[in-house]
């Protein structure tokens, strides 16, 4: 069975079917969407269970000619890194559906279609290994997300949607130029014109060409992550998006950027990336501190979590450019942890907003006694987000810092400062919402079964990642080793031996 294609096209076609057949029936659209995303999750779990690495650490591969005249293929493959991120995608999609159950008030069928189309695009990004195909999915996930923000978002949704789209699309178009540049450089050297990732890895790139091409890719990924100077779309988009949009944005879209760095920037341009690594790490640290400092002063809970995302993704970038086994595995684990934790936080803020009508910290307080279950779960995810040992983020942050410390102790210390700031703003947020005086008279309803199920799935993931990350680390072993070898080869001057 072409399982990888099914992973992409099941949500796409399922969503289309919902849109075409629902005719305004909300319940039908919701359940149908839940069934599709649930099936998808089951398939991914099955694939995980059955995964047996073939050559080069790839579990599954699908290859078919698409546009042979210009060397474009339909090439999907899944190794340990893609597997984990696909798993995260499959987990967060039903969460997003469940979180929007009552929150989305109009036009559920169209909403379901866009949500599932986004999922399909993200799946494609994590699986495609032909550069043009990758680009197709990379752009494809933007459009439905744009509409999710622009049509179902909050007050300033249009502004946020445009900003999101224009930032990311500029980055990706520059990547397209770099892809074309790599294609022709490779073609001139070998006479084989192809967009195949595995072939392009063996391109000899001179210093400046390699650096420019690498930067073309880097810009696209940096916008998505987002790194410091190009981050300004993120707080707006996260804040204005509907809950499901925020979950997918923070949980998955940001990960596509970091995934791109690991999958494309480092292996395709090892020489340039080694030269660039100190800048990459510096940008990561700037992101950590900048995000944390801005999170300290936010009043809006969604904005606060958005800035904390910038901070956490800074860790991911720091780990990636630390470029050793600990740093890279830490980065991937942290990506998963952040996806789960932040997804849960946004879902919780959505639930809180449905009940209280506000996200502003000033208007909240003392909610722990009327909403004990919500309060308890918020505590769990807050603790995870601040890096409490035994919970998800700790495993990732610890590994990243351990990895970076071997490269530069100073940067590791600076990164650790970000964790301290994280403790401050997260605890403060918790204190101002859950503790203190209850404001106003209102009938509070605690979490119902659906909401408990939504958060329960994520809580399991958080505990699993925190307590027993070994199965995840194991599947990262082979693919990350290959990436690290390319760096060692560069630094020891054995580039030619590698090719």
């Amino acid at each position: 069975m072409p399982w990888l294609s099914i992973l992409i096209f099941l949500p796409l076609l399922g969503g289309l079917l919902i849109w075409l057949t629902a005719r305004g029936r909300t319940a039908y659209a919701r359940w149908f969407a839940l069934v599709v995303t649930g099936t998808e999750l089951l398939i991914v779990l099955g694939l995980w269970w059955a995964a047996a690495p073939a050559e080069g650490g790839y579990f599954y591969e699908e290859r078919a000619p698409w546009i042979p005249t210009v060397g474009i293929q339909y090439l999907l493959a899944m190794d340990g890194i893609s597997l984990l991120l696909v798993l995260l995608t499959a987990l967060l999609a039903p969460v997003a559906v469940l979180a929007s159950w009552n929150a989305v008030r109009h036009n559920w069928p169209a909403f379901a279609f866009l949500l599932l189309a986004t999922q399909a695009g993200i799946m494609g990004v994590f699986l495609a290994l032909d550069l043009v195909l990758f680009y197709v999915f990379w752009e494809l996930m933007l459009v439905p997300m744009y509409f999710l923000i622009g049509l179902w978002g909050h007050a300033r949704r249009l502004y946020a949607a445009y900003k999101f789209f224009l930032f990311t699309v500029t980055g990706s178009l520059l990547m397209l130029v770099a892809i074309l540049g790599l294609y022709f450089t490779h073609g001139e050297q070998t006479g084989v014109y192809t967009f195949d990732y595995f072939e392009l890895m063996h391109t000899h790139l001179s210093g400046t060409t390699g650096m420019w091409l690498m930067l073309g890719f880097f810009v696209a990924f940096a916008v998505k992550i987002p790194l410091f100077p190009v981050h300004s779309w993120l707080p707006d988009a996260h804040t204005e998006a509907p809950t499901a949009g925020s979950i997918l944005l923070a949980g998955l879209l940001l990960k596509t950027g970091a995934y791109g760095l690991i999958r494309f920037c480092l292996p395709l341009f090892p020489e340039a990336s080694v030269d660039f690594a100190p800048f990459g790490m510096a940008l990561g640290v700037i992101g950590i501190l900048y995000g944390a400092l801005l999170a300290l002063v936010q009043e809006d809970m969604k904005r606060l979590i958005a800035y904390s995302s910038i901070s956490h993704l800074g860790f991911v970038v720091l780990g990636i450019y630390g470029w050793n086994q600990e740093g890279l595995s830490g980065a991937v684990i942290l990506m998963l942890a952040h996806g789960v934790t932040t997804g849960a936080m946004f879902a919780l803020v959505g639930m809180l907003e449905e009940r209280s009508g506000t996200r502003l910290l000033n208007n909240l307080g003392g909610l722990l006694s009327p909403l004990p279950r919500l309060g308890a779960l918020l505590l769990l995810f807050t603790l995870s987000a601040m890096g409490m040992p035994g919970l998800a983020n700790f495993a990732g942050e610890f590994l990243v810092l351990a990895g970076v410390f071997q490269v530069s102790a100073g940067l590791a210390v600076a990164g650790a400062l970000g964790i301290i700031a994280g403790v401050i703003y997260l605890l403060w947020m918790y204190q101002r919402t859950m503790l203190g005086e209850l404001q106003g008279e209102r009938k509070w309803v605690d979490l119902d079964a659906r909401e408990m199920l939504t958060l329960g799935m994520l809580a399991v993931a958080v505990l699993w990642l925190g307590l027993y990350p070994a199965p995840f680390l194991e599947s990262l072993q082979i693919p990350l080793t290959a990436i690290i070898e390319s760096s060692t080869a560069v630094t020891t001057g054995e580039v030619d031996a590698l090719h």
Binding site: I67, T69, V70, V136, V143, F165, L176
Partner: protein
């Protein structure tokens, strides 16, 4: 004359015959219904397309016409495109009672001109084709002269097209003076370092530039896009431009070795300002037809980026882009025509508010076409840009590509703005009529082609 020649000439004969038949039917003693006239026009257009399928390739007729894969492809495109425009016009409310034999025969003659232009291998044939195309357009733009700006639009187009023709003709004269031949194939082998030739080609380029509305020859475009009835706008914005474009591709594909160097900066400049100015002017535009006019200027700029590369990929990219451009814009204008008020087109973007919800099919098709125009995968618009930018990267024109890419990103803003308006809340309801079947068929076929060409560009790339 051989039988092969006759087969090669069949589409031209059919188109002229069709135009004359329509005129005769119009002056028939009994009144013949518009429906019948439309059916006759469609029949002749489809016959023309069928005849083109029987062409034997490659072939040339008397050193004047070249019958090759590109000619066939675009003859088909023009015949079918013109058929689509006839269908659109038939259902188009504002000209409902004024659609008679003259209108239809003018469309057929314009198609003849386009076909002649793309098949010409001789500059004089090209000029004749250009004029046969231009003259019916003057009349069609000013159709229903009582409308606001109709006469103004027609006259404006006539004057500027006349000017363009003058440049073109002067270019032809200089070409002849410097090389002694007007045959395109012979021109390609000219080796003498004539100084006049670059000037001659530049003048021809300016003449075609007017037709293609490249900046700085673009001033007529927005006014006339707005003034003409939507189906006619579709006619000269899509197929007519593609005809001029294919001629340009043929001219530049010669590579004219000794003048290419001199020509390159000119192409660069035209491409660059067309992209940038087109997109910048479109950004703040509130009128949908004017907006599409500016966007088409930018698209021609991208095509020039491909042509300036001067390699075989660039030529293929330009051909592919021309076709994608026709389909995308035809789809968009078909939706504009379908949504017209009984007396005029919708103008301001606000008049389209919420219509995507009311007419899901039209809204979806418009979405597909706009995303294709913006260049989003998996549509034909993306593939066209990929090939065009690829050609330029191959030629090493990195700066030009980066500018093209940034202006593409800029363009997303206004395409998305249209889509947002279409799906926004709170529509302005006035005269809600369901779109007619013919129009819906055109809209569906166009959007299927936009996606189909984007996913399977292979069968087109194999043509040239």
């Amino acid at each position: 004359m051989h039988s092969t020649d006759l087969i090669s000439l069949a589409p031209f004969i059919l188109l002229s015959l069709g135009g004359l038949t329509l005129l005769m039917l119009g002056s028939w003693p009994q009144r013949i219904s518009t429906r019948t006239l439309t059916a006759v026009a469609l029949t002749f257009l489809l016959l023309c397309a069928t005849a083109a399928l029987f062409w034997e390739l490659p072939h040339e007729v008397g050193g004047m016409l070249v019958i090759d894969a590109i000619s066939r492809l675009f003859t088909l495109v023009f015949a079918l495109g013109a058929a689509a425009i006839v269908l659109l016009s038939y259902d188009y409310a504002p000209t409902r009672h004024e659609l008679r034999e003259e209108y239809l025969s003018l469309i057929l003659f314009a198609t003849l001109g386009m076909t002649l232009l793309v098949t010409s291998r001789h500059l004089v044939t090209a000029f004749i084709g250009l004029e046969i195309l231009a003259v019916p357009l003057y009349a069609l733009i000013a159709w229903r002269p009582t409308r606001d700006g109709a006469i103004e639009g027609g006259v404006k187009y006539a004057v500027l097209a006349g000017l363009a023709a003058a440049f073109f003709l002067y270019g032809i004269a200089l070409t002849y003076a410097s090389t002694g031949t007007l045959d395109l194939v012979a021109l390609g082998t000219v080796t003498s370092g004539e100084r006049l030739l670059p000037i001659a080609v530049t003048l021809i380029l300016v003449g075609t530039g007017f037709k293609l509305a490249l900046v700085p020859f673009h001033m007529w475009v927005p006014d006339i896009y707005q003034a003409a009835p939507a189906p006619i706008t579709a006619l000269f914005a899509t197929v007519a431009k593609a005809a001029a474009l294919v001629f340009l591709v043929r001219l530049l594909a010669l590579q004219l070795p000794q003048i290419w160097e001199a020509l390159l900066p000119l192409l660069w400049g035209l491409a660059l300002i067309s992209m940038v100015v087109g997109n910048l002017l479109a950004l703040r535009q509130q009128n949908l037809k004017r907006l599409l006019a500016y966007s088409s200027i930018a698209h021609l700029g991208y095509i020039l980026v491909a042509l300036a590369a001067g390699n075989s990929l660039g030529r293929d990219a330009a051909i592919y882009y021309a076709l994608a451009y026709v389909v995308m814009n035809l789809g968009a204008f078909a939706v504009v025509a379908a949504l017209a008020y009984p007396d005029r087109d919708r103008g301001n973007l606000e008049e389209y508010r919420g219509l995507g919800r009311r007419y899901p099919l039209l809204g979806f098709a418009m979405g597909v076409c706009l995303l294709a125009l913006a260049g989003l995968p998996p549509t034909a618009g993306f593939m066209a840009k990929l090939l065009a930018f690829g050609a330029a990267v191959e030629a090493g024109h990195i700066v030009l590509v980066v500018i093209a890419v940034i202006s593409t990103a800029l363009a997303f803003f206004y395409y998305l703005r249209i889509m947002m308006v279409l799906y926004a809340e709170g529509e302005t309801i006035r005269d809600v009529t369901p779109p007619a079947q013919g129009t819906v068929a055109v809209v569906i076929i166009a959007s299927v082609l936009v996606i189909g060409l984007g996913i399977f560009p292979e069968w087109l790339l194999k043509v040239p």
